[in-house]
Symmetry: C2
Subunit: 459 residues, 2 copies
């Protein structure tokens, strides 16, 4: 590769290659390591993105798109060096159209900013990853981000109607549509969302919005143990309710946040946080009561109900404390993102704990139990424990697949899980996806080394 020739072609664009910038773009929130780009480019519009992509093609320089670097699977790390293409300068909300219930944004828009802007006009954009205050819409598209409210409202892909998309050769296509429905041609939006920056770069994103549900209420319900809580989650869904969120925290997670958030009743070994939204106070309150009574029949000890914003915020603050509090427990942790069929959640939690015990490791499980998406954390005290942790993670992935599950619910495969993909997908299916990648990116320059297992010839 010839970085000097490339640089000469990009005159007029904002380029940086100082050590601090390269260090910044060399890591993300995946803890996958330090992979510094040689050059970081900050295009300010679609035409500049196309220029960068074309120049990298001509000079055969690897190119990795990046925005907020909040990814959990290493998707934005330039593991083969080359150029990091930051979408951070393209951060405009281009249009919010209340009368159409749609909006169009640039990829660098921060999710929470966008959520606030649509809520200000009475609308609602449901995807809500924990990183909302800092993550970008472009990254959400790349990873198909979810969040607690995916239970009722689905994930990012369910909201993306149309994309302006720079292909790996630098050509621009508009795929999808501006309408809420449409079936003309192949669903390339479906293919591109979640492609982890390997099939192209979103430069403009049109999403569907919903009317904002005016009433939201939240309940925190304690149980003696996590299996009872997990069974209660299933009972709620079988009882005909579809809450916005059904989150679960196990005993390790509770112990980690004890004394830091809302108080739990004596004997609590797990909690669920359930949230219901709707149009009328009466309707939502009736549903929340029905939920609490189902939980009570399945071992629920105590329900704290939050009906206003401050009370709700206290419950959610406790939920958000879990991840940092677990890290405090043992200094290091690895956070997984597996999904199992809902009925297998209790068994999965038991098996994951047993895997940890057999290896002398503490395993905590919390997350989106309502849709079977569990953030199972393996805690450890020192880097010397890492081989045992790796063993635990591999066993955890195998157990997930054995239970009919999938490796990742919302974080993506990236580099963190590519070595496990063959546990879940057949060689033939992986080969088919590689052929798709080659069709779009014959030189393999766009976000290389991601998603698929390393091939032996690459090693």
């Amino acid at each position: 590769m010839s970085l000097e020739a490339l640089r000469a072609e990009l005159t007029g664009l904002e380029l940086r290659d100082d050590d601090a910038t390269r260090a910044t773009y060399g890591h993300d929130e995946s803890d996958q390591g330090d992979f510094r780009p040689e050059l970081v480019v900050f295009p300010k519009d679609t035409a500049e993105v196309q220029r960068v992509v074309r120049a990298c093609n001509r000079h055969r320089v690897p190119l990795t798109p990046v925005a907020a670097r909040t990814g959990k699977s290493g998707g934005s790390l330039p593991i083969h060096g080359g150029v990091s293409l930051s979408l951070e300068r393209m951060n405009q909300i281009l249009a919010i159209r209340p009368e159409d219930l749609t909006a169009t944004v640039q990829p660098g828009v921060v999710l929470a900013d966008f959520q606030r802007a649509v809520e200000a006009v009475g609308l609602f954009y449901p995807p809500d990853p924990n990183s909302a205050p800092t993550c970008s819409l472009g990254g959400n598209i790349a990873e198909n981000a979810g969040g607690p409210s995916a239970l009722k409202y689905g994930v990012t892909r369910d909201y993306v109607l149309g994309l302006e998309w720079v292909l790996p050769d630098g050509e621009l296509v508009r795929v999808g549509r501006q309408t809420v429905k449409g079936v003309a041609g192949y669903d390339l939006v479906g293919l591109f969302v979640g492609s982890e920056g390997t099939l192209g770069i979103a430069t403009e994103i049109t999403v569907k919005l919903l009317p904002r549900p005016p009433v939201v209420m939240t309940a925190l319900i304690a149980f003696t143990d996590v299996l009872a809580a997990a069974r209660a989650v299933n009972a709620v869904l079988l009882g005909g309710l579809l809450p916005r969120c059904l989150e679960l925290l196990d005993d390790v997670a509770l112990a980690a946040v004890a004394g830091k958030g809302v108080p739990f009743p004596a004997g609590a070994g797990a909690v669920i946080i359930a949230e219901i939204d709707g149009t009328t106070e009466e309707g939502v309150f009736a549903e929340l009561n029905l939920l609490a009574s189902i939980a009570s029949k399945h071992g629920g000890l105590d329900a704290q109900i939050a009906v206003d914003r401050d009370q709700r915020e206290r419950l959610w603050a406790t939920r958000r404390l879990v991840s940092p509090a677990l890290r405090e427990l043992q200094k290091y942790k690895f956070s997984e993102d597996i999904v199992v069929p809902r009925s297998k959640v209790p068994e999965a939690i038991e098996r994951f704990k047993a895997i940890g015990q057999a290896l002398g490791l503490t395993v905590a499980t919390y997350g989106h139990a309502g849709d079977g998406n569990l953030h199972t954390n393996v805690l450890y005290r020192s880097p010397a424990d890492r081989p045992r942790v790796e063993l635990a993670l591999e066993q955890l992935m195998k157990e997930t697949v054995r239970l009919g599950g999938t490796l990742s619910g919302e974080h993506g495969i990236g580099i963190a899980k590519k070595k496990y993909l063959s546990l879940e997908q057949s060689d033939q299916l992986i080969a088919l996806q590689r052929r798709l990648k080659v069709l779009f990116d014959p030189f393999g320059l766009l976000n290389p080394g991601k998603v698929f297992p390393d091939e032996s010839k690459e090693q």
Copy 2:
């Protein structure tokens, strides 16, 4: 092609080539003409589907998948002859898993049978095309079928989690997952759903189910004219409500069903049918009252509210009468399926009527106004009017695209609209999709001649 050699390879499979069978499989509900296959094959399992696909590949025989023949765009018509592969014998519901909120079916299962089976265990599969009593799940997957409740619940694609899929070369892959969430690898389910039988054949389909909302109420609200009704639809959505359905019937549609269904108040020039579902009677009734009061402020004359199944059924029977009643008005009709951004629905209805008037044709508009998906019908009295009708349809498509819309909301492109696809999609986007088709089907044997415009070399 060598049909005799092919037949010899398919010993043991159910084959038919009698005139009656060939005539039956030569047409569907699209009124696109008579295109008879030379042979119809009825495989009874996945292995037999693979045998047929491989044999057709070896002998270079065109192959068209078909099931219930209820399609509206000609997707199942074997326009290049060859073999029709019927999925009708593969009609088993393989599993309904209430505890997972998922089900697995074969492609020949009739939608209404499946809906009844899941409702019997308290669950809900929302996609509801009008053809539900006869259409098949396989066809729903091929066309990405919608229906009135798409407004709140989305379309078929939103429910498909995993597919067992026979590729155009006869290889079998399992794509997607059994869990409600998952982002491992490219979203091939997204690519395959709605690919209109051109990228492969679903032989097993795993879908997501929902808890069945126990309370459903419906309102029929009359307006003096269709523009007021269309504006009221937008006002309802901006008012923070998300009904299950928001259907609209214009004056021509009303005149067609006058005296046949529920009575309309004097002066009614349009109606909307709104349906709201939820968990409690109080909550749903409160929302329906809010909806009626918003409609009233926007010119609603009168609201008939149906709270039990019989009353609701009477309102929906009137809606279902529209299509046959319009055909009675003038004997022939062409039914379109365009979608425009919601705010453009009033303008679209006006423009479509004007197009009809300028050409001396009656145009009726009804359909899923809540999501902008309009079934605009061009009525005519004799085949001699057909050239004018074609002109009207072309103008209608151009106007739809000008308004930011799409050619098809739920019927697909098939052969009915392929000549218009270039109005909506760039040459480059169509070329990209053709390259995808070639990657999957290098000989162009699977459902040839569909979706994309004929290339000059083919003419």
